[in-house]
């Protein structure tokens, strides 16, 4: 039986009627057309589908859309806050070549938003640990680590 839900995504309210078995990842991609959230494995392993729900990084493939009813979701499309400028983390990845095919990138960026808020000066070990939940098959991670280090600096330099 379908259920009507109302979810705030990147600051905009969406109301839809959905089946309870609809995954949040499919809701984002197919129901409201935000295909920036990628789907790699659908069992929680790859991290490509990571989004923020009420500011916490979560796997959207392991949540049902009905569970996001009344909540705030942020996807990679919301990173620039509706402005034309890149988020400092996006800028860091662009400058340091933190991606090749880019499939893993949205999930990594969304993992890093709360991480860098809580750890403005992360060590390389801390960066590698937080990245352990996101699989990248292209870069070998080295450039991603450098991108995170630059992102941390950019966030600090950014005028408030």
């Amino acid at each position: 039986m379908e259920q009507t839900i109302s979810v705030s995504v990147n600051g905009r309210q969406y109301e839809r009627s959905v089946e309870p078995r609809l995954l949040l990842s499919d809701f984002l991609r197919h129901e409201i057309g935000l295909s920036g959230t990628h789907v790699g494995c659908e069992h929680g392993v790859c991290g490509a589908c990571t989004v923020l729900m009420d500011s916490a990084a979560v796997r959207s493939c392991l949540l049902f859309a009905v569970q996001a009813n009344g909540r705030d979701v942020t996807t990679v499309e919301g990173l620039d806050g509706g402005h034309e400028e890149l988020h400092p983390i996006q800028h860091g990845f662009w400058e340091k070549h933190g991606l090749q095919c880019g499939f893993c990138t949205p999930g990594i960026l969304m993992t890093l938003v709360p991480f860098l808020e809580e750890n403005p000066d992360p060590t390389e070990d801390e960066i590698r640990e937080v990245l352990s939940g996101n699989i990248c098959r292209c870069t070998g991670y080295q450039k991603i680590v450098e991108a995170v280090q630059l992102s941390a600096r950019l966030i600090k330099e950014k005028p408030a």
């Binding site: 039986m1 259920q3 309870p20 995954l23 659908e42 929680g44 991290g47 493939c61 991480f115 939940g133």
Partner: protein, 293 residues
């Protein structure tokens, strides 16, 4: 859409939940963090008639100290336990082990109750529950009971709960001053389920000999395995390197009977168990003696 269709219930109270479970029995599944259940639904290995979502039941989210015990509500997120100062103070072994469980994104949703009830033989929390002598508070629509962690785990992904029962809370005795603890594991990748892990809790008696020891393995059986022979060898002994080595060898040879899988064969798991036992016993004894924080 990968999961099969189901009826979705989002009760607000434990009473409502127990009534739903009573009605559905085997056909109803509780949804906690979803970090183990939803993958199996996406594979259609699990196709419940009804999904009963516990995420709206406020009374299941809590962490508090009561009678020198840590009381933890079933829906308390793994991440909340990892970050709790209370947990760090009264059950430091639990605090130290949390980061070994999966990744931050998983721990943000995954719950203590979900992990304990799921009874994965390579999960950290069931092994810890036994090492720490925890008890589970379980209810059905008609009954309520406490189950000691030792009696809770009965087999592969199997607990002694009935289908109409649910786990409400876990009580973990605080570690008294003078006890030592340690946890270590070996996983192929940070955050993956471990091939083998070991938890130890040690109390030293007057005079510095070992009064009580609990050594529990994960990944070497269908449920967590308590190393009873090793414990018998150690009690009454001084915690010397030789005594710890002998007990660790006994644990690996006599206390476990691991089977192999694609991640690690039986001989390798036995080897890991011996090495990890020695490490955690050494660290726990040093902590009990006050050499290491």
């Amino acid at each position: 859409m990968k999961p099969a269709a189901f009826e979705y219930h989002a009760p607000r109270t434990v009473e409502e939940t127990l009534a739903l479970l009573w009605n559905y029995g085997e056909d109803g599944k509780l949804l906690a963090g979803g970090q183990s259940l939803v993958p199996t639904m996406n594979f259609r290995l699990t196709q419940p008639t009804a999904l009963i979502d516990l995420n709206g039941i406020d009374e299941l989210f809590f962490l508090r100290e009561e009678d020198d015990e840590l009381r933890c509500g079933a829906m308390t997120r793994q991440r909340a336990v990892e970050r709790s100062d209370l947990v760090k103070r009264i059950v430091p072994l639990l605090h130290e082990t949390m980061p070994h469980i999966a990744h931050t994104q998983i721990r943000n949703r995954g719950t203590i109750g979900g992990s304990l009830a799921h009874a994965d033989p390579t999960a950290e929390l069931p092994a810890l529950a036994i090492a720490l002598d925890a008890s589970m508070y379980v209810r059905s629509f008609t009954d309520a009971r406490w189950i000691a962690a030792r009696d809770y785990y009965v087999g592969l992904f199997t607990t002694s709960m009935e289908p109409e029962e649910m786990l409400l809370e876990v009580a973990i005795p605080g570690l008294p001053a003078g006890s030592g603890w340690a946890f270590e594991e070996v996983a192929r990748q940070k955050g993956n389920y471990a091939m083998c892990g070991a938890a130890a809790v040690v109390d030293l008696a007057e005079g510095g000999s070992i009064g009580h020891v609990s050594l529990v393995f994960l990944g070497v059986g269908e449920a967590p395995v308590e190393a009873e022979r090793a414990a018998t060898l150690l009690v009454g002994e001084k915690p010397t390197a030789a005594a710890i080595r002998a007990a660790s060898d006994a644990a690996a040879k006599l206390d476990i009977d691991p089977v192999g899988d694609i991640h690690a064969g039986p001989a390798f798991r036995r080897h890991l168990a011996g090495v990890l036992a020695e490490r955690v016993l050494t660290k726990a004894c040093a902590r009990a003696a006050g050499y290491e924080g």
